[in-house]
Symmetry: C2
Subunit: 353 residues, 2 copies
DNA sequence: ATGAAAGCGCTAACAC
DNA sequence: GTGTTAGCGCTTTCAT
C-alpha cells in the first residue's frame, strides 16, 4: 500500500511517468487523449494516475499552452438576485465548455471595474462578460478595446460598435407597462429612475412615455431621476408627494426604486393598489409573497447568460464579423399592486392609519 | 513613439529586461521591491515597464513561487443577499492581502461542492472558505482534510475538530426571539425549519423551545421540518393550518421559510401582526419596506467574513493550534410583523377578503 | 510509438 | 549589485 502523507507535495506528471515507467511526454499524451499511444502504456498511465491520485495542474497546463481556460465575469454587485443568478448561469455555461469562471464585483464603481478588468487581463483570461456599472462607454470598455481583450457587454448597455452586447429588451417591456397602465385608466403616472445608466434608462423612459401618449394623449407622465445614488431619489420622491402630487401609478425603472417607492407609500399610509398602483422593473422572489404582490418586469436572466456565452465563445474561437447586439424579451407580470384609479375604497388620497 | 498593436503578444519580463538593458532577474528584483538594486537601474526598469505597459503575470509568478495567491470561496448559492454580501466581503478582504478570490456556487449540492473543492485543490489555492450545503461532516470537508487543504468552515456549521469554524450565534438569537414572543404573550408558536442542515437547525430549535418553556411553561411549540426541499414545507404548513391549528406566532428558521409562511398567510387572508405574528431568521432588504415590515434575525455577515479570513490567513501563514470555533452575535429586529395575540381587530381568525 | 529537449513567464540560488 | 542558471508543472516539437 502506498500512502501519501496529507501534506506531501502533490504528485506531478513526472511522478506519474516514473510510476508508469514511461516519459512525462507520454503521460501528457494519454491525458490529452492522443490516440497514438500503445494501449498497454495507456493502461499503465491510468493505473499510475489512479494510484497516485494525480490531477493535472490546470494553471501550469494553461501556461504552457499559452491559453487560459478561464472566463472572467464582472458585475456591479453580488447582492442582488439578478446578478446572483446571472453569475450562477454564467458559471454553469463556462464549466460546460471546460472553462472556469472567475467572478468579481465592481461594487458600482467604474474605477474598480477597470482595475478588475486589468487584473483579468493579467490573468490572461480567454474572455470577459462585463456588466458595466454605467454603460458601454466607460473606462472599462475602453480598456478592453485598447488591449484587444475579447468580451461581451451585458445588461446596462445598448448596441455598441466595438463589442457584442446582450441585454433585456427593456424598451419593449416599458412600452408594455405603459399599455397595461393606460388601459386600466391611469392618466397620471410617475416614473422613477437612476440617471447614471443614462442611455438605457432614458430609452426605457422614452419608450414608456411614447406608448402612453400614443394610447392616451392626455396622459401626464412625471419623472424623477436621481443622478447616481438612491437616497436623493428618496428625498425627491418625498418632496414630490409633499407638494401634493397624486399620480395614480408609479413605474420604477430599477429594483431599489421599487423599494423606495414602497417605503414612501408606507410612510404616507398608502396601500397598493387602492391608493396607488406600482410596477417595478426587475422581479424578485419576495414580490410574489408580500401583500399585495408587486407587479414587475421579469428579465430573462437565463437567456441573457446563454446568448452572452454563446457569442463570447464564438469570438474566442476566432469567429469574426461585426458586433452583434442581442435583445432578449422580458415578461411583464401584472400582479395585485396594480389596479384601476378610482376603484379603491381609499382613492382620493386621504391618509390612512 | 512606440505603439504596440492591440493584438501583439503581451510584453514579458524579458522584453522589459531588454528595453531597460538589464537582466530579467534584475527586473524581477525591482518589481519585488528588493532594495539591493542600483537606483539608476531601478529607474531604467520602471521606465521600461511604463513604456511597454508591462504587468507581471500573476499566475506564472505563483507557479514559480509554488504558492498561489488565490483564496477559494464556496457557497450554496449566489442568489441570496446573505451569500451575495458574504462573497463581496470575502473578496474585499482577500484583495486587501494581495490575494484574488475565486468564488463558486455549490448550488445546494454536496456532490458538486466536493467537485468544486477538488478543482480548487487543482488550482492549488492557498486556502478555502467553505459554506457547506449541509454541515461540517459532508464529503467536502472530508476531502479537505484528506488532502491537507487549509480552510475555514462558515455558516451552517457547529464547532468541528478538524477545521476552524465561524458562524452566526443563531442559538442565542433564537432564545432571544423566544423571549420577545413569550413576553408579548404568545403561548402557541409554530417553528418552521429545513431539516437538512440538521445540527444547526436543531440547535436553534432547541434553544428556542428551551427559553420559551423556561419563561412560560405552558407554551406550546409546534414544529414543522422539511427534510431537504422547501415545497414539502409549504404543503405541511398548508395541512397544518387546514387542520385548524392557530398558533399566534410563527418563527421561521430560514429565509425561504419566511417567504413560504407569508404566502400561506396571504392565501388564508391573514395579516401580520393582527392575525398572526411572524419572525424570520435572516434579514433581507425588502423586509423593511413591505407592509408590515417583517421582524428578522440579522446575521453579522461582515463580522463572519472578517473572522473567517482572519483565522484563515493565520493558518496560511503557518499558525498552529487547535481548531477555533467562533460565534458572532446576531441582532434581533422586532418589526411590525410581531404583535401581541388577541390585540388585533381580526384576532380569532376569521378569513378576510 | 516514444522520449529528449525546449520553453510558457516568472523567481530564487548562487556565482561573480 | 547583477547576471547566469535552474526549475515551478506542464505541453509540444522533433528526432528516433
Amino acid at each position: 500500500m502506498v500512502h501519501r502523507e496529507a501534506h506531501a507535495r502533490r504528485p506531478s506528471i513526472h511522478d506519474v511517468a516514473n510510476s508508469a515507467g514511461v516519459s512525462a511526454a507520454t503521460v501528457s499524451k494519454v491525458l490529452q487523449g492522443v490516440a497514438t499511444v500503445k494501449p498497454e502504456n495507456v493502461q499503465r498511465v491510468f493505473d499510475a494516475v489512479a494510484l497516485l491520485g494525480y490531477r493535472i495542474d490546470p494553471l501550469a497546463s494553461d501556461l504552457r499552452r499559452a491559453k487560459r481556460r478561464i472566463i472572467g465575469a464582472i458585475v456591479p454587485e453580488f447582492e442582488s438576485e439578478f446578478f446572483g443568478s446571472m453569475i450562477t448561469q454564467l458559471e454553469r455555461l463556462a464549466e460546460q465548455r471546460g472553462y472556469a469562471l472567475v467572478a468579481a464585483s465592481s461594487r458600482e464603481s467604474e474605477a474598480r471595474e477597470k482595475e478588475i478588468l486589468a487584473r483579468m487581463h493579467d490573468w490572461r483570461v480567454s474572455g470577459v462578460v462585463l456588466a458595466p456599472v454605467r454603460n458601454e462607454h466607460g473606462p472599462a470598455a475602453g480598456f478592453m478595446k485598447k488591449n484587444g481583450m475579447t468580451g461581451v457587454l451585458i445588461d446596462r448597455v445598448l448596441a455598441d460598435d466595438a463589442f457584442d452586447t446582450v441585454s433585456a429588451d427593456s424598451v419593449s417591456a416599458s412600452a408594455e407597462v405603459a399599455r397595461e397602465l393606460v388601459e386600466r385608466g391611469h392618466r397620471h403616472i410617475l416614473v422613477l429612475g437612476l440617471g447614471e445608466q443614462a442611455a438605457t434608462v432614458r430609452a426605457r423612459l422614452e419608450s414608456f412615455r411614447e406608448r402612453a401618449l400614443q394610447l392616451a394623449p392626455d396622459t401626464r407622465v412625471d419623472v424623477i431621476l436621481s443622478e447616481s445614488d438612491v437616497e436623493p431619489l428618496r428625498s425627491s420622491l418625498r418632496d414630490y408627494f409633499a407638494k401634493g402630487e397624486r399620480p395614480t401609478a408609479v413605474y420604477s425603472l430599477f429594483l431599489r426604486g421599487t423599494l423606495v417607492a414602497l417605503s414612501e407609500f408606507r410612510r404616507r399610509g398608502w396601500h397598493c393598489p387602492n391608493d396607488i398602483s406600482l410596477v417595478g422593473f426587475d422581479d424578485a422572489e419576495w414580490m410574489q409573497v408580500t401583500w399585495p404582490a408587486i407587479a414587475a418586469v421579469v428579465q430573462p436572466v437565463r437567456q441573457i447568460a446563454i446568448q452572452a456565452m454563446d457569442v463570447l465563445f464564438r469570438r474566442i474561437e476566432g469567429g469574426g464579423g461585426p458586433p452583434i447586439a442581442r435583445l432578449e424579451p422580458c415578461k411583464v407580470l401584472m400582479r395585485e399592486s396594480v389596479g384601476s384609479p378610482g376603484n379603491g375604497p381609499h382613492s382620493g388620497g386621504g391618509k390612512r392609519q
